[in-house]
């Protein structure tokens, strides 16, 4: 999943569809993100490659929409509703997730277990 500038990124992804929950006047998804091109990638506990500046899921609130949808902590978000999330700043990522006009967000997420599962099945 490492990013080589100029090369397309290939990853095994899972589609996660989150229906936002309305809480008062906010729409929440129930998870928190970390990362971004303006952040320090070495502090990311979830990334395999410590130079990966992608957006990662750092926390999931219990019973929230994200958990229900199958999002897991440590997932890297590749796309949100078609918008790329691999090369964005933290704030941009947050904004793309929290558009008030969208009630459903469809994410493409990748995680190491997926990658491994596919590799294993390919090998065997």
């Amino acid at each position: 999943m490492s990013y080589i500038p100029g090369q397309p990124v290939t990853a095994v992804v899972q589609r996660v569809e989150i229906h936002k929950l309305r809480q008062g006047e906010n729409l929440i998804l129930g998870f928190s993100i970390g990362g971004g091109i303006d952040q320090d990638p070495s502090q990311n506990p979830f990334s395999e490659d410590k130079t990966d500046k992608g957006i990662y899921v750092t926390r999931i609130s219990e019973g929230g929409p994200a958990e229900i949808a199958g999002l897991q902590i440590g997932d890297k978000i590749m796309q949100v509703n078609g918008w790329d999330m691999t090369m964005v700043t933290h704030d941009q990522a947050r904004k793309r997730l929290t558009k008030r006009s969208e009630e459903v967000v469809r994410l493409l997420v990748t995680r190491q277990s997926l990658q491994k599962a596919v590799q294993q099945s390919m090998l065997s």
Binding site: S32, G34, I37, Q39, D40, R59
Partner: protein, 899 residues
Amino acid sequence: MPAELRQEQSPGSQASLVTMPEAPEVLEETVTVEEDPGTPTSHVSIVTSEDGTTRRTETKVTKTVKTVTTRTVRQVPVGPDGLPLLDGGPPLGSFPDGPLDRHFLLRGGGPAATLSRAYLSSGGSFTDGPEPRDAPSYGSLSRGLGMRPLRGGPLGPDPGNGCFTLPGRREAFPVGPEPVTPAGRSQPERFQAESYGLEDDTRSLAADDEGGPELESDYGTATRKRPDCGRVLRTRAYEDVADDGGELLEDRPLYPAVTAPLAQPERGSLGSLDRVVRRSPSVNSARKEPRWRDPELPEVLAMLRHPVDPVKANAAAYLQHLCFENEGIKRRVRQLRGLPLLVALLDHPRAEVRRRACGALRNLSYGRDTDNKAAIRDCGGVPALVRLLRAARDNEVRELVTGTLWNLSSYEPLKMVIIDHGLQTLTHEVIVPHSGWEREPNEDSKPRDAEWTTVFKNTSGCLRNVSSDGAEARRRLRECEGLVDALLHALQSAVGRKDTDNKSVENCVCIMRNLSYHVHKEVPGADRYQEAEPVPPAGAVGSQRRRRDDAGCFGGKKAKEEWFHQGKKDSEMDRNFDTLDLPKRTEAAKGFELLYQPEVVRLYLSLLTESRNFNTLEAAAGALQNLSAGNWTWATYIRATVRKERGLPVLVELLQSETDKVVRAVAIALRNLSLDRRNKDLIGSYAMAELVRNVRNAQAPARPRARLEEDTVVAVLNTIHEIVSDSLDNARSLLQARGVPALVALTAACQSVREAKAASHVLQTVWSYKELRGALQRDGWTKARFQSTAANTKGPKGALSPGSFDDSTLPLVDKNLDGEKLGSQDVIPMEALGPDGYSTVDRRERKSRGSELAGESSEKEPLKSDPSRKVPPPGPSRPAVRLVDAVGDTKPQPVDSWV
């Protein structure tokens, strides 16, 4: 007589060897058949001189258990059958009995009475009467004989049958010249194995037989060439010694080569006694040519089970000797399951046996290889050692036991075991008594001084090691009754006597430092004292501040008082000790509470002022660092107390130290102390120059060797960062101290990523002060230059050029800058909700975490002592834990945002 012997026979004549036994009397002169001409025969009787010529009669292997203390070359009259006429044989009579026995083994240097009585062969008495051999002689003996510890048979020379020692028993002699037992016993006495001949343990002392094989055959000694360097060395020594005149001989081959059985003497010349150990036939069978050989390790271990106690003792002593500095033998002992035997001997009824066993265990436990330590633990060694310590009154035994425990304590898995079994005993039996601390204060007597004994040193070293084992270990030590009190008392008395450079003091301070680590979290009741916030950054903390104790600051008349005057600017007063803030103590603090009482500050500062021992300095600074790291009331008091006790100048002065670790510890201590506002101001004014000097040294070392380590530089940079954060004045001081060029150069130097990051972090903070921008720009600094490396943590392009960085980071940087002088807070560009970033440390926490981590760095693995004398203690302690990088991050704190 030796001389005469010398002349005799040339090594070559094996034949003579053969004949030797026959004519015991002749032996003196004749060379005994010795197997190898060159090597000292192991036969006891064979006395080979250095040149290997003379061979003494062979006497049987001196496996006598008894240590023959005198070294006499004696020939045992051999009867017609070749057996020494021990009974009443002249030689026997002449043997000095007492010394012969065993002692010599154990004592190094005693007269090596190696001759054991029973010389099988050649009953000729040795001409020289028992002559006490001194160390050198041992050597000689050993050569041939290899001091074998064997001494079979009844202990003690037994005139009657003296010669026959139990076969195979060899006394363990420490080999002569070599530094044998760590216990410092020297030379093994030569063992004179006595010719017991009983079982065979005739091992030929001299392994090499050059001689005719036939000779050997009698003894069945096969030359065993085992290259054992140790042995060789030893034998060599003997050889030399032998030169003295046939002394070697004296040692008669009885003793199997003093050298370790495993050692292969190389024979060669000198008919030295060393001979390859051969398995010689039993004395009985080899009447004609008794040959002694060194006991081999299995035999030595078997001797540990011998029913005769002195045999056990000697075997253990010999084993200790063999193990000295010989990792291979230590390993083999373990493989041959010798360790359980030794541990079992620790409970033996006889003191001698216990002492020797302990000495052997001490050697065996020392070394980089941890398997032996683990094996000792597995066979219940730790409880046995502790029992022995409780029971023993003899100082030497206590030294050995505590030395062994010190060795064992350096192995991590054993630390908790030692605490479990030994903490109470060590504290009550050693620390408390030797520290001079009185449990019940006795008004009549004046406080006793600490006694800096070896036992205390060993014990404190052991506790130092175990105290580094983590939170549980710290808790146990803190709660051990009387430990902290006694240690403090000992340190106080050291300071009082101005004797602060010794190892015991070092150990005690290190224990204190370790126990002070995280004290704000770990002591019972700590949460009572937790404060709502750490030192308030720009904002005011709600707690009351009083100016009251400013009076204290003005106490002195020295110029340094200026510090205090200056520092005391405004509202942010430090807490007053007398206010309600300070928990009232209805009774004197005791136990672990003493760890953080303000009174200890004076102690640590005294140590910092007086000691020249770098480890002690580092530990005292580390203790202050740990104490001032918390977010609790006591830390506030401590920080203030350090200031009041004029500690800040002491620390600043130590920044000039040439030793890295001292600079590092002091820098981090200052950093923690600057959590107190007034300290920060003072430190900023007075320490800035030193800190900048250190940075400059790091970046452009004046002398090549002055280059500081990375950790130290990072620590200094973080300290600078801490003091310039949220303090415009300090930032100005930094500029005035011409710190900016040094910092920029560091960021560009890209020698170390961490250093560069830390430096750029400081620069960013400085840049954030708008007031200073004017001054900076006047000097030609631009934002870009300051930021230059900020964005670029990896290999920046040599960088100094401002524009060459990633543009995407610049805005970020700008944001930072425009973030106002959040001083210590990095601007968090995103509206991060939580304070947590990846590192989930919030700003405040980060500070204290930084402090804690900094504190953590103080908890180091102490040095392991080398109880084995003659070996210098191992190297310096482990490097400190690295500081948290987060603080040095140029990027904003990782944040995460809830969506």
